[in-house]
């Protein structure tokens, strides 16, 4: 559908976007790669350009790396579990006939639009706070001891905050998928005498499987780089230091650039593994 003339102007029009993204991706990434092989600690005025894989070795073998991986996996895993399970149930619920469906949708989707620092602060102070938080009142109301969530269960608390933000996302996408399921298909199954539960297992769930996969992949990519919620609530203390946060601390707090850069490269590699799967699905979709 194109002539040589339009093709060359097309290349010209894509060029700026490709160029800025290429620069954005390559220049800092190559610098990080370069630093990751250097002993670079500006505060001590140390700069040695090539120390081989020392940074990687010490980053990978440090106990903080292993625990950060554990924390990351726990955090991402439990948030995924909550949002996917909750999202499927909520999507099915919101698809039911009801009064004021539009308003309920708006209520459910709202947390996704709250900026991360706001939701972290609101939850931290007005819900989790041991003296004045709503949960404390709730515990006291039932005659229980108030509980200091953020110091007793810091990881769990962060999971709650982030899950609250991402549940709407999962719900919205799964709802879109549920609504694309033809009611004829369900009615046919009902005519065939399939009970509700087996309709769910054999028709609804397989139909949702792709959407669920997409939600898992996209959320994983975003969740791997959770920052503000940790920054505002625990600042990485009490076992809430994820890989992202660890790298941030190594680079900007302890200013061990070499070590932090090695960590950054490792984070890039891990994210890419997830991204490849996502890209496959998106790519397939582009074809039709």
């Amino acid at each position: 559908m194109a002539t040589e003339h339009s093709r060359s102007s097309a290349r010209l029009m894509i060029a700026p976007a490709v160029f800025v993204l290429l620069v954005w991706m390559l220049v800092p990434l190559i610098m990080t790669l370069y630093f990751s092989f250097a002993d670079y600690r500006p505060l001590r005025a140390t700069f040695e350009t090539w120390i081989g894989f020392d940074n990687y070795a010490s980053f990978l073998t440090s106990s903080s790396f292993l625990s950060s991986i554990g924390t990351t996996l726990w955090m991402v895993g439990s948030i995924l579990l909550i949002t996917i399970l909750g999202g499927v149930l909520l999507a099915l619920l919101l698809d039911r006939p009801m009064f004021g469906q539009g308003i309920v949708r708006i209520l459910v989707i709202a947390p996704f639009f709250v900026m991360p620092t706001v939701s972290a602060l609101v939850w931290k102070n007005m819900f989790f706070n041991v003296d004045n938080g709503l949960f404390s009142y709730l515990f006291k109301f039932f005659g229980a001891q108030p509980f200091d969530f953020l110091s007793q269960l810091p990881l769990f608390s962060i999971v709650i905050i982030v899950a609250w933000q991402w549940l709407p996302f999962a719900t919205l996408i799964l709802l879109t998928a549920v609504q694309s399921l033809s009611s004829e298909q369900l009615e046919a199954a009902e005519m065939d005498g399939a009970p509700a539960l087996s309709r769910f297992w054999h028709i609804i769930l397989p139909h949702l499987s792709r959407a669920i996969t997409v939600v898992i992949l996209i959320q994983t990519i975003f969740l791997l780089s959770i920052f503000a919620e940790i920054f505002v609530t625990t600042n990485g203390a009490f076992g809430t230091r994820t890989l992202t946060y660890l790298v941030y601390q190594r680079v900007l707090e302890s200013q061990n650039i070499g070590l932090g850069s090695a960590g950054g490269i490792i984070a890039v590699i891990l994210a890419n593994i997830v991204a490849i799967f996502l890209m496959r699905i998106v790519g397939k979709n582009l074809d039709n």
Partner: protein, 334 residues
């Protein structure tokens, strides 16, 4: 003026040659129809002329001057698309005005031409509507209006009527023919409907797989198809093609007899068969007759009311001077 010459024009999409090198001349003022089965390259050929596709090799000349590398806008041609391709966000008036606006024509002249086109196309009452508020036929007229106002060297139509219902199609067909009679501008018209081709064309170009099978007036094609492909493509219902002994008896590999050239006789016909499905159109009746000489049923046109029923035996006799003969390569034997 609008004389279009294609000189060894070839088009490949990647490795696939859709149009093998081809020569064709379209005379000024002619109504030329490209006809052929789906996928034979009609649209591609039209788009090459329009400049919407690059030719792979060869040359296109419009009124003698080379146009091969001109962008579409510079060729002075107007095109009417199958989907109408109206600008949905503009009123009918603005749609029609668009090409004039692009040409920087002065306002008064634009107004004058819009009024003239609207009147000719019965669009005066709809000028301020959006395309979305028009019927299919009206949209088609807007698309034509948009083409007319430019006073192009030639009009290009790509299956303009295929989205219309049968009745409207007949109406629009006549409108386009009338338009041509009035404007006397070259028109190149693509269709896969041979009835459209027969009724509208001065000259028909029959295409198959990018090849030109035959070029000629509708009646030339009807009376002396150059090969079996053209023979069976032109004419409705299709010509009956027979091979075997009956063909050999006419010194041919294949013979063709049009349904309208078979007479129903009482007895001792050349062909004797059983009546299968019959289609009663009132004015005509088409019988599908099972005869031993042909695998498919033979189609016969009979008068309005013939008292034959499914399963009856029928005798048929071809009109001797109307038998078409083809050799072993499918080419016409004079």
């Amino acid at each position: 003026m609008g004389r279009i010459t294609l000189d060894k024009v070839q088009k490949k999409f990647g490795e696939v040659e859709v149009i093998p090198p081809l020569d064709l001349t379209i005379e000024d003022g002619e109504f030329v129809v490209f006809v052929g089965p789906s996928g034979c390259g009609k649209s591609t050929l039209l788009r090459l002329i329009a400049g919407l596709e690059d030719v792979t090799s060869g040359e296109i000349r419009i009124d003698g001057s080379p146009a091969t590398n001109l962008p579409p806008a510079k060729r002075g041609l107007a095109m009417v698309f199958q989907s109408y391709a109206l600008y949905p966000h503009m009123s009918v008036r603005k749609n029609i005005a668009f090409p004039m606006k692009m040409a920087g024509m002065d306002q008064a002249e634009q107004e004058r031409r819009i009024a003239k086109a609207a009147e000719a196309l019965n669009l005066t009452d709809y000028l301020d509507r959006r395309p979305g508020q028009l019927s299919g036929g009206q949209r088609q007229r807007v698309a034509i209006g948009r083409a007319i106002v430019r006073e192009p060297a030639a009009f290009l139509f790509d299956e303009p009527l295929s989205n219309l219902d049968a009745a409207l199609r007949v109406g629009m067909r006549m409108e386009i023919s009338e338009l041509h009679a009035k404007l006397q501008t070259t028109m190149v018209y693509v269709t896969h409907d041979q009835v459209e081709a027969m009724t509208m064309a001065d000259k028909i170009v029959v295409l198959r797989a990018g090849h030109i099978e035959q070029v000629g007036s509708p009646l030339e094609l009807y009376h002396s198809p150059r090969n079996t492909f053209v023979a069976s493509f032109i004419g409705s219902p299709k010509m009956n093609l027979l091979t075997g002994d009956i063909a050999r008896s006419h010194d041919a590999t294949t013979i063709g007899i049009r349904p309208e050239h078979l007479d129903v006789v009482e007895s001792e016909g050349t062909f004797v068969g059983r009546v299968g499905v019959s289609e009663h159109l009132g004015s005509d009746t088409f019988f599908h007759v099972h005869i031993p000489q042909m695998e498919e049923p033979m189609t016969v046109r009979a008068g309005g009311e013939v008292g034959l029923r499914h399963g009856d035996t029928i005798h048929l006799h071809p009109q001797a001077d109307k038998i078409h003969r083809f050799d072993d390569r499918g080419l016409r034997v004079a």
